[in-house]
């Protein structure tokens, strides 16, 4: 046995406080960017932009998108895409239009049916994904398209107005601190989802399933049941978003809700870079929605052309994530 040079210096203990600061920076980078936007537009348009009415309108009118985003976060956490969310939303709103406004049904059974439609769509998604083992992207794309067809059919491609004023009141007319109630519903849902994902075993099971199906199964998690539930919840919440949509507009049209699909995914992914970076999370999604809409609203108020909105939206999405990646030394974020 030959002994070699044995002198070596002890390793330095790693310093932790800097890391923590950095992590907090990462968590709140997007919030900072949002505040910055508010400051900029506030300086440019002190009365109109900084008015409470402007903020209350922003908060109220985005509640639908927030709720939709919260819905799709659930299957995203458990590792599935739900591209049928916007179709579910539109179907739910249209059922309210058809049953309540056109056929004159009372509100309670109408809402029950609208929400049930979301559960059914979620269950159909779950059935095809889980029984046939098909990728969720293709199933939800197909089911969403099918639902779009159903919507056109039941609505005869028409906008239906005259949704019960009491729904409208409870969504957008009645206010708290001047903000339509819809905002608070969205906030409550976000808090609920946040709580479930962060502080319950059920929520973490969802995450487990999303990060490793086989491992979860080995550990006794009923993976298929968890995934099925997450599709169904996503459908239910999307249908709830549809209820708010109908309440917000007092009407239902067969198409405009579909435009919310990509914004919802953008908000979900952008939200996953903040608050709990690397995980889809409720308040991250909320902040993303309001960050993006603040920019768009400010630009519109400044009278910017429509195309500037796209430039801002696309640019902000990429730049915001790029900055938060710089903060975390460009480590890839793995969602699965």
């Amino acid at each position: 046995m030959t002994t070699m040079d044995v002198s070596a210096k002890p390793l330095k203990p790693r310093s932790l406080p800097r890391l923590a600061l950095k992590q907090e920076g990462e968590r709140f980078a997007l919030v900072g960017a949002w505040l910055l936007l508010i400051v900029i537009f506030g300086v440019l348009m002190p009365e109109s932009f900084l008015s409470w009415r402007n903020f209350s309108t922003m908060f109220g009118s985005q509640a639908v998108l927030v709720v939709l985003t919260l819905g799709i976060i659930i299957p995203l956490t458990s590792g599935d895409f739900d591209l049928s969310g916007a179709s579910t939303l539109t179907m739910s709103a249209m059922l309210i239009g058809v049953l309540n406004a056109r056929e004159g049904w009372p509100l309670a059974p109408t809402l029950a049916i609208a929400l049930a439609s979301g559960v059914i769509i979620g269950a159909v998604n779950a059935f095809f994904v889980l029984y046939f083992r098909i990728h969720s992207l293709i199933v939800t794309l197909g089911v969403g398209t099918f639902v779009n067809g159903l919507i056109l059919w039941i609505s005869k491609s028409q906008t239906i107005s005259g949704v019960s004023m009491s729904l409208v009141e409870w969504v957008i007319i009645n206010r708290l601190f001047g903000i339509p109630l819809a905002f608070f519903y969205a906030l409550i849902l976000a808090a609920l989802l946040w709580y479930v994902l962060e502080y319950t075993i059920a929520g973490r099971r969802l995450l487990f399933v999303g990060r490793g199906r086989e491992v979860s199964r080995l550990n006794g998690i009923a993976v298929d049941r968890v995934r099925a539930i997450s599709f169904i919840l996503s459908g239910l919440i999307a249908a709830l978003a549809g209820v708010f949509y109908a309440g917000m507009t007092g009407s239902a049209d067969p198409l405009s809700g579909l435009n919310l699909l990509l914004p919802a995914f953008a908000a979900a992914f952008l939200g996953a870079t903040t608050i709990s970076p690397g995980r889809f999370n409720a308040f991250g999604a909320v902040i993303s929605v309001y960050f993006l809409v603040t920019g768009i609203t400010g630009l519109t108020m400044l009278g910017a052309d429509a195309y500037v909105q796209n430039l801002f939206y696309g640019g902000a999405l990429v730049i915001a994530v790029a900055l938060s990646q710089l903060v975390r030394n460009r480590q890839p974020q793995e969602f699965s």
Binding site: S48, S61, S157, T159, S161, V163, T249, G250, L255, N259
Partner: protein, 346 residues
């Protein structure tokens, strides 16, 4: 119908829209400057990504500038939340008039318009309803468009140009509010002119024009090779009809006639891909819309319909629309003089 027979009737309808438009005042003259002094109007178009909206807004803004009141266009991209934001802006910035323009159905903003009204704003719609349609109860004044007449004209044109033997494919879009009476007008006029002629209706929602019109037209042509005329009710649809004709080898044999006078389609008329396009000068329409808004503010009765001409553009007069075409050329400028006089600007 006259006794002279369908061909003569049809020709008469066509002829009525071939002459250079003249200005007919929509109501009594009034002192616009006086009653609009200090007033503010905010207009929300359906989407500023649609050329039609952009040009209509330009016309309205130009008219407002002449009269001298504040006119704001709420730029947006076909998003409900943006429309709502616009209503809110109108309320918080104390506008006097909220205008819902060009294809945006005010019913979608029911609760918000009610709020605006409660805040003292007057609500108008511009360029949405057909003359046969009832306006939404949430709006005060509305300037209806004579889509019914445009429909009759398209039917008559197809009848005349096919020598009384039209087999027509109508392309509609039921999600756009005036489409239903518009399509019905074409259908009933065709029935009247030629009860035994075949006709077919292809209904494609706006958001699916790009993906469904072309295959829809192709299939229709292949299923029935005697189709000889296609009437897309809004001319922007033509972009997807032309390739369908090319690909089925029907270009030339099957003609297209449409409505709106969108510049690129006028260019297609000049290039021979579209036979006829009914133009409605959007500059003129802008003035007419502002006229009605001012009537609302000055306590005058509403104009019964948007005072715009429906002018036929075909190979004979297409060059007057400009090269490349635009929204305003070819109609003369009788309206400028007419409106100024009507508003007592001079």
């Amino acid at each position: 119908q006259g006794k002279a027979g369908p061909m003569e009737d049809a020709k008469a309808i066509v002829a009525a829209h071939e002459a250079m438009p003249v200005f007919t005042p929509p109501g009594e003259a009034f002192d616009a400057k006086a009653c609009m002094a200090g007033k503010k109007v905010l207009s929300i178009p359906i989407s500023m990504t649609i050329p039609f909206s952009v040009e209509l807004q330009k016309g309205m803004a130009a008219a407002a500038k002449e009269v001298g009141f504040t006119y704001t266009t709420w730029d947006n991209q076909l998003k409900v939340d943006q429309w709502i934001q616009g209503v809110s802006q109108a309320i918080s910035q104390k506008y006097d008039v909220l205008d819902v323009a060009g294809g945006l159905n005010p019913e979608v903003l029911g609760p918000q318009l009610a709020e605006a009204r409660a805040a003292g704003l007057k609500i108008s719609t511009t360029h949405l309803y057909d003359v046969t349609q009832e306006q939404f109860k949430g709006v005060d004044y509305t300037t209806k468009v004579d889509f019914t007449e445009a429909g009759r004209l398209l039917a008559a044109w197809a009848y005349v140009k096919t020598g009384g033997k039209p087999n027509v494919l109508i392309i509609g879009s039921s999600d756009v509010l005036p489409s239903t009476p518009f399509v019905q007008s074409i259908q009933s006029e065709l029935k009247t002119l030629c009860p035994e002629c075949k006709q077919k209706h292809l209904d494609v929602p706006v958001s699916e024009w790009a993906t469904k019109i072309q295959p829809g037209v192709q299939s229709a042509l292949l299923a029935d090779s005697s189709i000889n005329f296609i009437l897309p009710i809004y001319d922007s649809m033509s972009q997807f009809v032309v390739p369908a004709l090319r690909i089925t080898g029907s270009e030339g044999a099957v003609k297209i006639a449409s409505f709106n006078g969108t510049p690129f389609v006028l260019d297609m008329v000049r290039e021979g891909h579209v036979q006829m396009d009914i133009g409605e000068s959007l500059g003129w329409a802008g003035y007419a819309a502002v006229d009605n808004i001012m009537r609302m503010m000055c306590g005058l009765p509403s104009a019964s319909k948007l005072n715009v001409p429906l002018l036929i553009f075909d190979e004979r007069n297409i060059k007057t629309a400009g090269i490349p075409a635009n929204f305003n050329d070819g109609y003369g400028d009788a309206h400028l003089e007419g409106f100024r006089k009507l508003w007592k600007l001079k």
